[in-house]
């Protein structure tokens, strides 16, 4: 397979040389390529945890691969086929460095797109920036990716965890000013980012409002004990900054204890199929969260043109895929954003131009984002999605309410 691609690339190069000899130089001069792009092909690199503790996210990589297959079937981008090379990093930083170096030096890709995980991205950031290879639309919500001055070749995609947490804090201060808040968070970068965002959001009121901070480890089989401990402190607002499995446990246990605080769960764990259903719909009634993308299982989007396209894509290119898995929605949206950027690049497929175009998206709306949520970037704003809308769980689905709230957090 690989050698066939190489032959194809070599043939393309030969064709390009021949074309150069025949056509006028003026026409040719408009086309500009860096490593990884030719007249017929654009090579995109990616790393994903297909194995290891975070392997559930591997679906994102598979969705993106399927998306570019669809793009190629439709004739490619500006006539060029997209070749999507994705490797397994097992969520291990040393492996991520090895695989990204393989992408850059052996496969010679144009950009590294949507690598997943904060540790893996931190490990490869310095290398990619030194080599001036775009680290496009990283799949992590850490705040540090929006730092165009220090890292001009790295750009985020989804809203940062901190900005989301600030939105919750602001909403609570407005709607429930005398709240007694307990926070359950995962003891890693993900949980701590939310904790910081919440504290920043409450500002001077943080010390008096937050009555309890309880952390758990990903390696714990059950977090029921933490919930009982939190209930004993008697807060009336319960913030659940947990990954899907633990969020489901937290909502379920709260229901079983007959305890009814106002619960807010992180956007990471809003999947109806993998969180709300296992937690029990009766326990999940009234749980709040915020969203930026549509839910694949939510009946209100059945007639939505964007989600219809998404659904048709899943049926045709990922038969058998689980539509309740939010990763399928996520991968589609991210891949569509990349396709848009490559389209905007036209015939100037240099790494510098890819970065320039990625930083000049104006009101772009992928099919899967909520109405009103738009992607905007600029030379000083490397946080593409920064809007969210509050939602409440009712019956068997999320109901959006209020307006989309913007929560841009500047890099430190």
């Amino acid at each position: 397979m690989l050698s066939r691609l190489r032959i194809a690339a070599a043939a393309a190069a030969a064709a390009a040389v021949a074309a150069f000899a025949v056509t006028s130089t003026a026409a040719f001069a408009q086309k500009k390529y860096d490593t990884g792009a030719t007249d017929t092909e654009i090579k995109i690199g990616n790393i994903m945890p297909y194995s290891g503790p975070a392997s559930a996210y591997g679906v994102i990589g598979k969705t993106e691969e399927a998306y570019f297959k669809m793009i190629n079937d439709q004739g490619g981008i500006n006539g060029r086929k997209v070749s999507f090379v994705s490797y397994d990093d097992a969520y291990s930083p040393p492996k991520a460095v090895e695989q990204v170096r393989k992408l850059a030096e052996s496969d010679e890709v144009l950009v590294v797109f949507n690598p997943l995980g904060t540790p893996s991205n931190t490990a490869i950031q310095k290398y990619l920036n030194a080599k001036k290879i775009p680290q496009l639309f990283v799949a992590t919500g850490a705040t540090k990716w929006n730092d165009p001055k220090a890292f001009p070749w790295t750009i985020g995609w989804q809203p940062s965890y901190q900005s989301e947490a600030q939105i919750y804090a602001k909403w609570l201060m407005k709607e429930k000013p005398d709240a007694k808040v307990a926070i359950l968070y995962q003891n890693d970068d993900f949980g701590k980012d939310y904790l910081k965002g919440t504290k920043d959001g409450f500002g001077a009121k943080a010390a008096s409002t937050i009555i309890m901070e309880e952390s758990y480890e990903v390696s714990e089989p059950s977090i029921d004990g933490h919930i009982v401990k939190i209930k004993a402190a008697n807060p009336d607002v319960f913030l659940i900054y947990a990954t899907p499995k633990f969020a489901a446990q937290a909502i379920k246990k709260t229901g079983e204890l007959g305890w009814k605080p106002l619960q807010i769960v992180t956007n990471v764990s809003i999947s109806v199929g993998s969180v709300m259903q296992p937690a029990g719909f009766e326990n999940a009634q009234g749980v709040l969260s915020a969203a930026y993308a549509k839910d694949g299982t939510d009946p209100q989007w059945v007639t939505d043109p964007g989600m219809k396209k998404w659904s048709a894509f899943v049926d045709k290119y990922m038969p058998g895929a689980d539509k309740t898995d939010n990763s399928v929605v996520y991968g589609y949206g991210a891949a569509q954003t990349l396709a848009k950027v490559l389209e905007m690049c036209g015939d100037d497929l240099t790494r510098a131009n890819v970065m320039k175009q990625a930083a000049s998206l104006k009101d772009f709306t992928p099919d899967t984002l909520l109405p009103g949520v738009k992607i905007n970037t600029s030379a000083t704003d490397f946080a593409p999605i920064s809007q969210l809308q509050m939602q409440r769980f009712k019956g068997q689905k999320w109901e959006l309410f209020g307006e989309t709230i913007s929560g841009d957090v500047a890099a430190e």
Binding site: Y50, S51, G58, S86, D88, V97, E98, T122
Partner: protein, 347 residues
């Protein structure tokens, strides 16, 4: 209780290895060395980086081999020593501003102390129980690194980014006479190779020395060893210390090569990989370490090229085949090859 004890004493299934068989012949060693020196001159930087990682993991596997193959003690906690070494180097380089080469002996000494101390309580345990105790150490380490108390130094969950060293100016000047340049990767490879060879020679000599014989006596029969006057407690903890020290140096080199340390890089998976590398390379056969290291670096990549979704399963099948066909790992292959060559010579 007595049945439990029986099981425990029977558990170490490590075969006695005569000490000559623990190393390669002089001629073969030279050939391997020549290959290791020449290959980087002809390949891409990325492959050089992979080879550097190969050497680093080989060192860590070698360390485990001294412990298990030499003194007969099990450890699933090597990732913890590796992490301590990596963090020691990273912290000294980034916070203290120390030269990278100087941080390695310090990482080694810190880990030696750590391993020696851990060896004290571990003395009371043997076989599977010792394996479990070290397993606990490996599971605890990533969380310890995240503790808020150390966060100022360790960078907490975010880890630490390390600056990669350039080749010394003198060498660069010499290379430029030949119109060549020495990349950071190439320099780091040869640096790692030099450290690796030094540790390999030291290990071989250690196992051939009085202490090495004491290790092996303990491995073969603890009671007989103590009857012969071997201080069992001292040598067992010493083996732990030496093994941890070498793992620490490997960890330090790993931090410099990867340019990043984070708790997620040193989970129990790493400890199991190292254990796997030792078994595949041949328990107690030091040159097998590099074969075992190659197995844990390259076989997952091969498995992935078969199927992305089933890479774990393919890896499992390949591992099973190796264990089934050559249960003694690379050592067995080497012995068979040696016999074949011997026959050819006779004909």
């Amino acid at each position: 209780m007595s049945t439990a004890e029986d099981i425990v004493t029977e558990a170490p299934a490590v075969e006695a290895v005569p000490k000559r068989a623990m190393t390669l012949g002089f001629g073969t060693s030279l050939v391997v060395l020549a290959v290791l020196i020449l290959v980087p001159l002809f390949v891409k930087n990325f492959i050089i980086f992979q080879l550097t990682m190969l050497l680093i993991y080989a060192l860590a596997v070698l360390a485990l081999n001294i412990l298990t193959g030499g003194s007969g003690q099990f450890s699933l906690g090597q990732s913890a020593f590796y992490a301590v070494g990596a963090y020691t180097s990273a912290i000294l380089m980034e916070h203290v501003g120390m030269n990278y080469a100087l941080t390695l002996p310090i990482a080694g000494i810190v880990c030696f102390g750590f391993g020696f101390l851990f060896g004290q309580p571990a003395l009371r345990l043997s076989g599977v129980y010792l394996a479990l105790a070290t397993f606990a150490l490996a599971t605890a380490m990533p969380q310890l690194l995240k503790l808020g108390y150390f966060e100022h130094w360790t960078g907490g969950v975010q880890g630490l980014v390390v600056t990669k060293p350039d080749a010394p100016e003198l060498l660069q000047a010499m290379a430029s006479w030949f119109h060549k340049s020495i990349s950071q990767d190439m320099w780091l490879y040869y640096f790692t190779l030099a450290v690796g060879i030094a540790i390999y020679i030291a290990s071989v000599n250690l196992l051939r020395s009085r202490s090495g014989r004491a290790f092996m006596a303990i491995r073969d029969n603890e009671i007989a060893a103590s009857a012969m006057g071997v201080d069992v407690a001292l040598y067992k903890t010493l083996a732990f210390g030496v093994s941890a020290g070498i793992t620490g140096v490997a960890g330090g080199l790993g931090a410099i090569a990867v340019q990043f340390v984070a708790p997620d890089g040193y989970t129990i998976t790493l400890a199991i990989q190292l254990f796997l590398g030792m078994v595949v390379g041949g328990v107690g056969w030091l040159p097998g370490s590099i074969v075992g290291s190659a197995f844990i670096i390259f076989v997952p990549n091969i498995a992935e090229s078969f199927s992305k979704g089933l890479s774990g399963a393919v890896f499992g099948v390949l591992l099973f085949l190796v264990i089934f066909l050559v249960p003694h790992g690379a050592r067995q292959v080497a012995i068979v090859a040696q016999q074949l060559i011997g026959k050819l010579k006779k004909n």
